[in-house]
């Protein structure tokens, strides 16, 4: 466990993230163009989706696949309820802010997932390829729960356009479509397809991930600098407790589904991670009164680094201990 953590701390990926945060806090003008950041994110989503699809093609459809997806959807839908309540205990925020924050923790961070997959691969730990599909399935349900929480409390959640319009927009979000589309392509084309494009999606993957984490460090550091004073001790505690809680539930669910230790660890990582791309955008549309500094700082500035540095090795260790490795 300690060794894993130490290895993790000195991996190029974590160090790149740290470099980014440090540069931003020191007010360096180092930055990535928006288009480059988006390009790297497209690449990572495509590659991870495709490889997941190929491994499903190789392993064949498994009864557990359906179970895992349903469990993922259920957890994503339920976590915001947990988060909403936990935030009420730890902070004095109003229901709209609490719902918006909670939505982020029900959904997932694909980069945290991708980093965990890289750690597993580096350690030679097997895991189910369809976890990518589970990741995609977990992106959206949390948003709906959060909107329901606000609507139930008498808040308004829609702006311009019917609620069906809005739901469709959430489900057709670019990152979900790309992840599932690439997964489907990988599944259809299988190992033959992978051979054709392997040199582009496998070999440079980790290097691109390093640069992307550097960029995320820059953005997170900038957010932390601008948001100084916004995150009190209660929110800070939430930013660490919520992922731990999520991971614990994720491990239990994964073990109950009978996933491999690697798969259980990934389930824990998905459950623990908080969205910072799709959900913030959805919240700006649907809950514009919620303060974006709160959820962005918490998700990208606190929980993301926590999961990256402490969480991934911890969840992996716990999953191995629990699911027998």
């Amino acid at each position: 466990m300690l060794e894993l953590a130490a290895d993790n701390l000195t991996s190029p990926m974590i160090l790149c993230f740290v470099l980014g945060v440090a540069a931003a806090l020191a007010r360096s003008d180092l930055s990535f163009p928006e288009a480059v950041a988006k390009g790297m994110s497209i690449y990572l989503l495509f590659a991870i989706g495709f490889k997941g699809g190929v491994s499903l093609n190789e392993a064949g459809i498994d009864a557990r696949l359906v179970g895992a997806i349903l469990a993922g959807v259920a957890l994503s839908a339920v976590f915001p309820l947990v988060g909403f309540r936990l935030l009420a205990l730890l902070t004095s925020l109003g229901p709209t802010d609490r719902a918006a924050i909670a939505a982020h923790y029900g959904s997932i961070s694909i980069v945290t997932f991708v980093t965990a997959v890289s750690v597993l691969d580096a350690g030679g730990i097997a895991h189910e390829g369809y976890m990518v599909a589970v990741a995609a399935a977990m992106e959206a349900p949390a948003i709906l729960t959060a909107l329901w929480l606000v609507a139930r409390g008498g808040g308004t959640t829609q702006t311009g356009g019917s609620s069906g319009h809005h739901l469709r927009e959430i489900l057709l979000n670019g990152s979900i479509v790309l992840l599932l589309g690439a997964f489907a392509i990988g599944w259809i084309t299988g190992p033959d397809g992978q051979r054709e494009i392997d040199a582009m999606i496998t070999a440079p993957f980790k290097g691109v991930l390093c640069l992307f984490l550097l960029d995320m460090g820059l953005v997170a550091g900038r957010g932390l600098r601008n948001a100084r004073g916004i995150i009190g001790p209660g929110l800070l505690a939430f930013g660490v407790l919520m992922p731990l809680l999520g991971a614990a539930i994720g491990i239990a669910a994964g073990a109950m589904l009978g996933l491999s230790p690697g798969g259980v660890a990934l389930f824990a990582v998905l459950s623990a991670s908080a969205s910072y791309i799709a959900v913030p955008a959805a919240m700006r549309v649907a809950l514009p009164e919620a303060n974006p500094s709160l959820y962005l700082t918490l998700s990208l500035g606190i929980t993301f680094p926590f999961n990256l540095v402490v969480g991934i090795p911890l969840y992996l260790w716990a999953a191995t201990a629990f699911a027998g490795g």
């Binding site: 163009p33 702006t159 953005v219 955008a281 549309v285 514009p288």
Partner: protein, 103 residues
């Protein structure tokens, strides 16, 4: 050159609302508008910049719409519901245009 009175409406609004705003403008019957990218900004909700960002959440666009003076009010009324709940600013300048048949 023959010039005609017009108004130049500039709406700076959150990027996530771009699609909805455009639909509203078209419904409101404007003959056209132009969307400019925005790089950074500052307001009561703090400072933001697009560099390195993937999420659309933090970011704005600027929409410019030239139209006949008598249409400004109906445009503003059509888009006001969007603006009311979202951060953003709207300004209107008097302007002259050529080729008034276009507006």
């Amino acid at each position: 050159m023959q010039m005609h009175d017009a108004h130049r409406v500039e709406i700076i609004i959150e990027a996530v609302m771009e699609r909805r705003l455009c639909e509203r403008l078209i419904e409101a019957g404007v003959t056209g508008f132009t969307v400019l990218p925005v790089h950074a900004g500052s307001g009561r909700s703090g400072h933001w910049e697009r560099e390195g960002q993937v999420s659309k959440a933090g970011g704005m666009v600027a929409v410019i719409c030239l139209l006949r003076p008598d249409r400004v009010d109906s445009l503003l009324e059509a888009v006001f519901p969007l603006l009311e709940r979202h951060i953003g600013v709207v300004s209107v300048c008097e302007a002259k245009v050529i080729r008034s048949e276009r507006f």
